[in-house]
Amino acid sequence: MSDLELRAVSRWYGNVVAVNDISMTIGPGVTGLLGPNGAGKSTLLHMMAGFLPPSSGTVTLDGEPTWRRPEIYRSIGLVPEREAAYEFLTAREFVVASAKLHRLPDPGKAAARALATVELTDAADRKLGGYSKGMRQRAKVASALVHDPTVLLLDEPFNGMDPRQRLHMMELLKEMAAAGRTVLFSSHILEEVEQLSDVVQVVVSGRLAASGDFREIRRLMTDRPHVFTIRSTNDRLLAAALMAAEHTSGVAIDDAGLRVQAADFGGFTHALASLARAHEIGLREVIPADESLESVFSYLVRR
């Protein structure tokens, strides 16, 4: 059981602030580090992994700083985002090398176990250079967990994986968390985080925008005001009916149809259908206008 703790951590490069005053504790279980590209996720992860010093604040693993301390890698496994690998090595050689560098008593056995965990046993004697992105990712994971670390840090681990590989990797991370390990992965895809993690840390523009239970954050996200574009058989009648309804905060009519500002997502989507039926209006198109992750994030930041 290990805890990673960040206290008032900031990291800047010249005048650019990459991480701004973030405090968080990452404990056992799966934690998702969610944020758009460029939010500071990798910077945070590199600081946790001891590959970057914080400009201010402290990053500690079980109370000890991570920076300039190679000993932490006895407890940490890191899966970096960069795809580069020793292309001339087979996956088995790669993982055995990692096991030997960790001075494990039986490197061959440990490597075989790690390769089996990521389901690479059959392809283990092929060179990494000939691997697909997803397979290479799994080889990296095998190398990171060959020494059975208590903390596993993964930077965008699902990039380049097909849906089946993604599902398998998710299962794997869940199993590791169930065994009491601290698993942290970064992602810019909401659904990945939703499927996998109990706890979410949302980072936007270097700041911690939201933190805690995923369902709680999901509720915040869905309860926020939404804009819908709607086309119907009678736009004016629908506009009048919507304005009279509880969950609508504004309606505009233009050539494209209606632009409706909903006060809360859940209430509005439930009310819309029954409202249309009551007034005998046919709904031709209902499009949420601002569903992009960025708009969700910017809402969380403004909150």
Binding site: G38, P70, L101, S186
Partner: protein
């Protein structure tokens, strides 16, 4: 020394295209040696000193010394080595030993062969050049490994150092000789071969040995310290 690191380093080094350049340089020296023999040339300093020690040795050491660790730091594969509890001085020592061995293979051994081809009756002098070049390899490599951890432009900085500092200043400004690896190397050659002015060295071997040891120790310490604080950068996100 760490066998795993040494193995991966060698395989990475010989898997890169740079190795062709590495093979080309000694071939030029051997070609020149053959020409010397055919033409009856007897100036050992031009072939073994000015080409072998002043040009071939630092260039081979530069390619190898910046390649053993710098290339891995550049392409990001070094992370797999650094994300292990392996003490950083072990990594630097292993990389440096491998680099020195390869440099000896591609610079000192060709120096010996070239000497034997061109000057078959000057065995002692030729041996002096070869052993001197081997000792020089160790010092150059220590500097270039440290340089590759300190900057991403190690190749360019190293080339400027070889051409300007070692090539121009140290050869023509006598006071700088005490800070020149080329001059240390020549002083080793001179001492081993018990040669006189035939081997033009501006520092005495008594001065050169402790200075070379200090340079290697400082470079090793500096490289280890830098590697301990190695930062992953370049990725926004």
């Amino acid at each position: 020394m760490n066998a795993v690191i040494a193995n991966i380093t060698l395989r990475a080094l010989f898997g890169r295209r740079r190795v062709l350049l590495l093979a080309l340089l000694p071939l030029i020296l051997l070609g020149l040696a053959a020409a010397f023999r055919a033409g009856g040339g007897d100036d050992t300093d031009i072939l073994l000193g000015r080409f072998g020690i002043a040009a071939l040795l630092p260039l081979v050491a530069l390619i190898v010394g910046t390649g053993v660790l710098g290339a891995e730091l550049d392409d990001g594969t070094a992370v797999y080595l650094l994300a292990t509890p392996t003490p950083r001085h072990v990594i630097i020592a292993t990389k440096s030993v491998v680099a020195a061995a390869v440099t000896i293979l591609f610079a000192a051994v060709p120096e010996l062969l070239a000497g034997l081809i061109a000057f078959p009756d000057r065995g002692k002098l030729v041996a002096g050049y070869a052993i001197g070049a081997a000792a020089g390899s160790v010092v150059y490599v220590a500097i270039f490994v440290a340089l590759s951890v300190a900057t991403r432009r190690a190749m360019a900085v190293g080339l400027i150092y070889v051409l300007v500092w070692e090539g121009l200043l140290a050869s023509f400004v006598s006071g700088i000789g005490v800070l020149s690896v080329q001059q240390y190397t020549l002083s080793f050659v001179r001492a081993i071969a018990s040669a006189g002015d035939e081997v033009p060295a501006t520092v005495s071997v008594v001065t050169a040995i402790p200075l070379a040891v200090i340079v290697v120790a400082l470079a090793g310490w500096q490289a280890t310290d830098r590697l301990r604080g190695y930062r992953i950068s370049g990725e926004a996100g």
